[in-house]
Amino acid sequence: MADLGRAALVVSLGLVVYAFVAGFTAALTNRRRLAVSARNALFSAFGSTAIAATVLAVALVRHDFSFAYVAAHTNRTLSTPYALSAFWGGQEGSLLLWLLVLTGYGALAVALNRKLLRDLTVWVVPVLGGIASFFAFVLVAVASPFATQTATLDGAGLTPSLQNPYMVAHPPMLYLGYVGLAIPFAFAAGAMLSGRTDERWIVATRRWTLAAWMFLGFGQLLGAHWAYVEVGWGGYYAWDPVENAALMPWLAATAFLHSVMIQERKGMLKVWNMVLVALAFELSIFGTFLTRSGVVNSIHSFAKSPIGAWFLAFVVISSLFSLGLILWRLPLLKARTRLESALSREAAFLYNNLLLVALCLTVLWGVLFPIVTQLVKGETRTIGSPYYDFFLRAFGLPLLLLMGIGPLIAWRKTSARTLVRTLAWPGVVTIVCGVALVALGAGSSRPGLIAYTFSAFVLAAIALELIRGTRATGSLTTLISRNRRRYGGYVVHAAIVLLAIGVAGSSAYGSSTERRLTPGQSVSIGGYTLTLQDVRRRHVPNATETRAVLDVTGGWNGTISSGDNQYVNPPEPSREIGLKTNWLRGEDLYVIADSANPTTKVVFVKVLVKPLVNLIWIAGFVFLLGSAIALWPDAREQRRLVTRLAPARAA
C-alpha cells in the first residue's frame, strides 16, 4: 500500500502546484473558470492527502514494518493509540499531518468564503497553494513517509517519553495551531494582492485566527504538563528552543487578536496588523525549522534531520514575499484616524501589543543567540533561564496589569478623574490583597508578590466589568451573548491570571531539597517527612522498573515511589517521578529518585514542594472555555456581513 500513499502524495503535489500556478494566472488575467478550477484543485488536494494519511495510519495500526517509517517509530508492543500517535512522533509523519491540516483548513476556509468574498478568495487559493506546494514537495522529494524496506520482525519502537497520553494530543494540537495561522496569513496576502485591504479579510479569518491561537495555547499547556509528569526535572517549562518555537507565534497571534480590534473600530494599525499576521505565520514555519533542523540543542533533538535547510529557505522566501507585499501596498494601508488619547482603550491595546511583541522578539533573540555566536565567533553560546525569566517579569508583569486596566477604560479617551473613579474598587481590592499577602509571608519574593497583587487587580477588574455590564443589560447571559468576543476574552484573561498565580506560586514560593538516603533515613521539607522504606526492582514486559519507595508523613500520610524504567525496545531509560497532589494545601509533592540501587539500597532523592502549580492546568480548561465563548457563532454578525456584501454581489 506504500505505492498508493506515494501516488496520492504525488497527486497532491500536482494539485497544489496547479492551484498555485493556475490560481495566480486566473487572478492576474481575470479568468473565472480557471479560478474555479484552481479552487477545485485545492479541494481535491485535501482528498488525495487524506488518502495518503489513511494509508500511513493503517500501516501504523497493522504494524506493517515494510514501511521504513513504521519500523523506525513503532514496535509490536505499542497499543493502537500509541501506534497511531507515531504518526506525529516522527518527522515524515508530522509533515504529512501538516499538509493534511493545511489542505483541509484551506479548502474549508475557501469554501466558506467563496461566495461573499469571491474577489479575495481568488487570490487566497494561490497563496495557500504555494504554501502547500512546499510541504508536498518536501514530502515527495525529501522526506517521504512511504519509503519501503524488507519487512522486519519488529520495529525500533517509540521513544519511551513519547508513550504518554499527553503526547497523543499535544503535537496534533500544536499542528492545528501552527497550520491554522496559515489561513489569516493567506487572506491577508490575498487582501494585499487584490488591493482590497478593507476589513473583510479580518472578518473572514477572525475565527480561524482565534481557533489556531486556542489550539496553540492549549497545546503548549498539554506539552508543559507532559514535561512536568514525564520528563521529570521538576518543572514544566525550560525555555527550550522548541518550546519557545510554539510560544513565539502564540505571542504574535495574541498581539494580532488585540490590535485587529483597533482596526475594526478605528481603521488604524493596518500595516501593523499585516506585519503581525505575517510574523505569526513566519514564526510557525521557523518553529518547524528549529524542531526539525537540529540547529540548536533541544530536548526535542530526536527530531533532527537535513530538511531544516528547506524550511529555512521557505522562511526566507515567504518573509521576503510578505515584506514586499506590505511595502507595495503601503499607500492602501494608511490609517484614516489617529490615536486621540494616551488614556483610551485603543492606547491600552497598543501598549499591550508593544509588550507582547517585545516579549516575542526577546524570546526570538534568545533562541537565535547560539546560532549567531556560532556564525560570528565560531563557538556556540546559549542563553539560560535567567535571561528569559528577567524579560518575562519585565514585560509580563506590566502586561498582567494592562489586562486589568484595559477593559476598564473607554474607547477614544478617558479623563484622569473618570479613570481614578473607575480604578478605585479594583485598586482597593489590590491593596487589601497586597497587605494580606505580605502578612502571610508572600513578601519573600518581590516578583511573586507583584504577580499576586496584579492578579488580584485583574480579577477585581473582570468582576467589576461583569457586575456593571449585568446591571446595564439586565442579565449575565444577555451581556455575554451581546458581545461574545469581549466576554470570552475576559474569561481568557481570568485563565491567564490563574496561569500567572500558578507560575508565581510554583517558582517563587516553591522549595526543594536533595539527600542521599538509605532505608530508614528521612528527609523533611515544607511540612512533609519522607522516609526511605525500600529500593525495589522488577521486570515487566519490555522494561525493568527500579523504584525507591518512601513513606510520607506530615502534610499527607501515605507512600510515594519514584525511580526509572530501562526499556528493552527501544533500549532507552525513562525517569519515573513520584507525584502527590495535595488539594487541601493546594500544592504538589514531587519526588525524583536518581541512581536507585536495589542491591546497596542507596538512592539520591530530590524532593520539591510546588505550591499552586495545579492552577496552571486548571487555567488550560478556563482558557478553552473563554476561547469557546469567543468562537461561538454569532448569527447577528453573520447577517450583518451578508447584508453588507450581498447587494454588491447582486448588482
Binding site: 501516488a7 474577489d119 478593507d198
Partner: protein, 73 residues
C-alpha cells in the same frame, strides 16, 4: 496488492483531474469568463457601508461605556 494500489492511485488521480477540469467540462464555451470584479461604485458603497457599521459600533460602545460608568455625562 501493487495492482490494487495502482488501480486506487489511478482512481484518485482521475477523480482529481475530473474535479479540476469540471469548470471547463461544464461550460466548454463560456459566455462570460471574466471574474465578477466590483465596479468602482460598488467599491465606494462597500467603503461607506463599512464606515457606517464602524460608526454605529462606536456609538453602541459609547452608549455602553456610559451606562457602565466609564465615561461621564
Amino acid at each position: 496488492m501493487t495492482w490494487l494500489a495502482l488501480v486506487l492511485g489511478v482512481g484518485v488521480a482521475a477523480g482529481a483531474v475530473l474535479l479540476v477540469a469540471w469548470p471547463f467540462l461544464r461550460e466548454p464555451v463560456a459566455a462570460d469568463d471574466r471574474l465578477d470584479a466590483l465596479s468602482p461604485e460598488e467599491e465606494r458603497r462597500l467603503q461607506l457601508v463599512e464606515e457606517r457599521d464602524r460608526v454605529l459600533a462606536a456609538l453602541k460602545e459609547l452608549e455602553f461605556d456610559h451606562r457602565t460608568g466609564k465615561i461621564g455625562d
